[in-house]
Symmetry: C2
Subunit: 141 residues, 2 copies
DNA sequence: TTTATTACTTTTAAAACGCAAGCAAAAATA
DNA sequence: TATTTTTGCTTGCGTTTTAAAAGTAATAAA
């Protein structure tokens, strides 16, 4: 692993781990779009390159944000699953979407505006907790 | 400006703007450490390079996350100030610090652990709102 | 065998970095 | 007041690191 951290500040350290263009996009796809295999991620609209995806999955696994497993009836396809560390990124993802909705639309009118955003605004904590519980029920068998 | 966005997802778009190693570190320094001049940022423990700092400040200004002004009695030193878009990043910063405190200490025991973290845990929303109000009172004269 | 999936490698392009020079305003000095 | 020195950025250059694109290899399913 041997990861370098810029300093001892919790915020800076968090950004040393997940502060790049792709890590949180992958977590978002798992938590809110049900993606769990290499192919799922490759086919996403964000269009990540295969080598970048490989390296990010490896990093997320090293930090125990995800686990990599195989189903008993399929020795080929890896199933990636968020751990407790991983699902606990949901509050950050929710805040990112709220900020974006409020402040980036001005620069990017095409920004998607679904009912989910309204639900988050009405009951942020409830939404976050439900997302996490739903994910656990579906994936932590 | 002409910024490219990967898709229409609010989360991905937020990361297209502030999803890099430095943007949120600069915002954190302004919001929680009172930094406001080029020199302040350069002298920070995160040790950003001058050319990277220049380019990030320009980007943050283009997205109206900060403004650049001069004081009437000093035409040399630029004063950088967070806008509404900028201070609204505080919830994201608070969630990052909570996640880091809970999940990264295992990999990095030197992580700073001050009383601020306890305050955030006890009353997250109150802490965030106070930080924002304090910043505005001190900087939006 | 053929095909599909995943992961690794190679090549090319972009971004980050350290260093240093440039420039204008302000402060110090003469 | 005039000159020099310091301060606060900004920019450019060469190097290192990281990202992207494409190709290769390994494995297993059909």
């Amino acid at each position: 692993m041997e990861h370098k951290f810029r300093c001892n500040c919790p915020i800076t350290v968090a950004l040393d781990v997940i502060g790049d263009k792709w890590a949180l996009v992958i977590v978002k796809q798992m938590l809110t779009e049900g993606k769990k295999t290499f192919k799922d991620f490759i086919e996403s609209e964000e269009a990540i390159a295969t080598n970048i995806l490989s390296s990010r999955l490896k990093m997320l696994e090293e930090f125990k944000i995800i686990t990599k497993d195989k189903l008993p009836d399929n020795k080929k396809t890896n199933i990636y699953t968020l751990t407790e560390k991983g699902v606990d990124l949901m509050p950050i993802i929710a805040e990112l979407s709220l900020w974006s909705d409020k402040h980036i639309r001005e620069f990017y009118p095409e920004l998607y505006s679904g009912e989910t955003l309204q639900i988050i605004k009405n009951n942020k904590e409830g939404f976050i907790n439900k997302k996490i519980e739903d994910y656990k029920l579906e994936n932590w068998k």
